[in-house]
């Protein structure tokens, strides 16, 4: 899936994956896609919950060799 920007949060422990994702999405335009790579297992549940509370949209997620990948569409807030 195409993305406008990628955040590499591999090897980072909670809360950093979400902190970085939050910062990056603030710099995107509504409708643009942010791709996030993380290895922290907790990031799966947290990312899903974070997306909901911030009004963004989880378009796709998958796991590849221990790396969780998320595609998040920026909402209109």
């Amino acid at each position: 899936m195409k993305s406008n920007r990628i955040v590499d949060a591999k090897g980072l422990a909670c809360p950093m994956p979400i902190v970085k994702t939050n910062k990056a999405i603030n710099e995107l335009q509504t409708g643009e896609i942010l791709e996030v790579h993380a290895t922290d297992k907790g990031s799966r549940n947290d990312m899903a919950a974070w997306v909901k509370t911030t009004g963004n949209e989880m378009v796709q997620e998958q796991e590849e060799n221990g790396v969780f990948k998320f595609w998040i569409k920026k909402g209109s807030h």
Partner: protein, 377 residues
């Protein structure tokens, strides 16, 4: 200044019923599923990702002056949030060292009983509601329902100058990974469990041992067929004084079927256990279960989870003068379908059918203990 609190300090706080305000910054579903609870604990859940741009919304809900503990899954996010709360000028702020992972793994050692022949320690896994025990006599010891943190039992044995000779599991656990096999390998002790539980490693079958004796201890093995819970479980009566009741009798009442779906069949076996075997035991026998549901309700004045059999009978109408069919109806009416998280995989590991790395074991055990919820009064 930001302070740290260990799981051990949190356990003491709960046992002493001290006041504590907990800000749990995990996501809402993890929080709802499993949290630190106590009589004088006040809880607030705001996920850390709602506090990235500032902690104002949390500050307005946290009382000034009260001891504050910030909690998350592993530690990182709680520190992140707690530091901001300290920067905002608050005092008496703590984070939980090692997070809920450490909370799940902490064992609190308390003394239960001591006489000329025998001394008994209880190990309370406060984060999960699981109990294990060490029975010491002379130079030897026996461990009941060990958790996977086997180093602790070995350390206690060493401090007490005893050798662990026997290890027993009251049943095949579905909510946590047994340390029985690992502890037996490390100590050379005999490991006993019911053959009917289907373990594939070497062990001694409890079916073949009516008594386990060492030094001045005589432990009677009471087979309690409970097909609703697991295929076979047992209780252990030590020196006619202490009943290690497994999942059959709890401080709060009788055990109940949770994993089998054969409620009525199980209830019939339970009736026979209660009315044929347990009814023969004296009122002053101390009941020491494998689980509890509520620390505040079940921790007694002496500081351990347990009660005199007479008191449990007194509070539990089902254990007195019920006829069989009324008993079965009552038990069946309380049937419940909630199971412990990951119980199939945990059961497979405890049978030796599957293996898991320590990380995976930790992951499987995270969460509430649903065996303990399953008593009824």
């Amino acid at each position: 200044m930001l302070n740290v609190m260990t799981a051990e300090q949190v356990a003491k706080t709960l046992k002493n019923k001290e006041e504590l305000f907990i800000l749990d910054v995990r996501n809402e579903s993890d929080f709802q599923n499993w949290k630190i609870e106590g009589e004088n604990v006040e809880l607030l859940n705001i996920p850390y990702f709602d506090l990235i741009d500032g902690v104002e919304q949390a500050l307005s809900q946290i009382p000034v002056g009260k001891k504050l503990l910030v909690v998350c899954a592993k530690e990182g996010s709680s520190k992140f949030v707690a530091e901001q709360i300290v920067e905002a000028g608050r005092e008496n702020v703590h984070y939980l060292h090692g997070g809920m992972k450490a909370w799940s793994e902490h064992l609190e050692q308390v003394i239960v009983y001591e006489d000329q022949q025998v001394k008994v320690y209880q190990f309370i896994r406060v984060g999960k509601g699981c109990l294990s025990y060490m029975v010491l006599s002379g130079k030897e010891a026996l461990v009941v329902d060990p958790s996977r943190f086997t180093d602790l039992y070995q350390k206690v044995a060493q401090n007490e100058g005893v050798t662990i000779k026997h290890i027993v599991d009251s049943h095949l656990h579905a909510d946590h990974i047994s340390g029985g096999n690992v502890l037996a390998d490390a100590t050379g002790a005999s490991y006993y469990l019911m053959k009917s539980e289907g373990a594939v490693f070497d062990f001694k079958a409890l079916e073949d041992h009516e008594h386990i004796q060492f030094e001045l201890v005589d432990m009677q093995v009471l087979a309690v067929k409970t097909p609703g819970h697991t295929p076979g479980s047992v209780s252990f009566l030590v020196n006619d004084k202490l009943l290690f009741s497994g999942d059959t009798i709890f401080v709060g009442g009788l055990g109940r079927p949770d994993l089998g779906g054969k409620v009525r069949e199980w209830a019939e076996d339970l009736y026979e256990t209660v009315y044929d075997k347990v009814s023969q035991m004296a009122d002053d026998v101390i009941v020491l279960p494998a689980h509890y549901a509520n620390l505040d309700d079940e921790l007694n004045q002496e500081g351990y989870i347990g009660a005199a059999l007479g008191d449990i009978r007194e509070k539990n109408e089902l254990m007195r003068n019920k006829n069989k069919s009324d008993f079965i109806d009552s038990v069946a009416a309380s049937a419940h379908s909630e199971t412990p998280p990951n119980f199939e995989e945990i059961v497979a590991i405890n049978r030796g059918v599957e293996e898991a790395t320590p990380d995976r074991q930790q992951e499987l055990e995270i969460g509430p203990n649903r065996c303990a919820v399953h008593h009824f009064a």
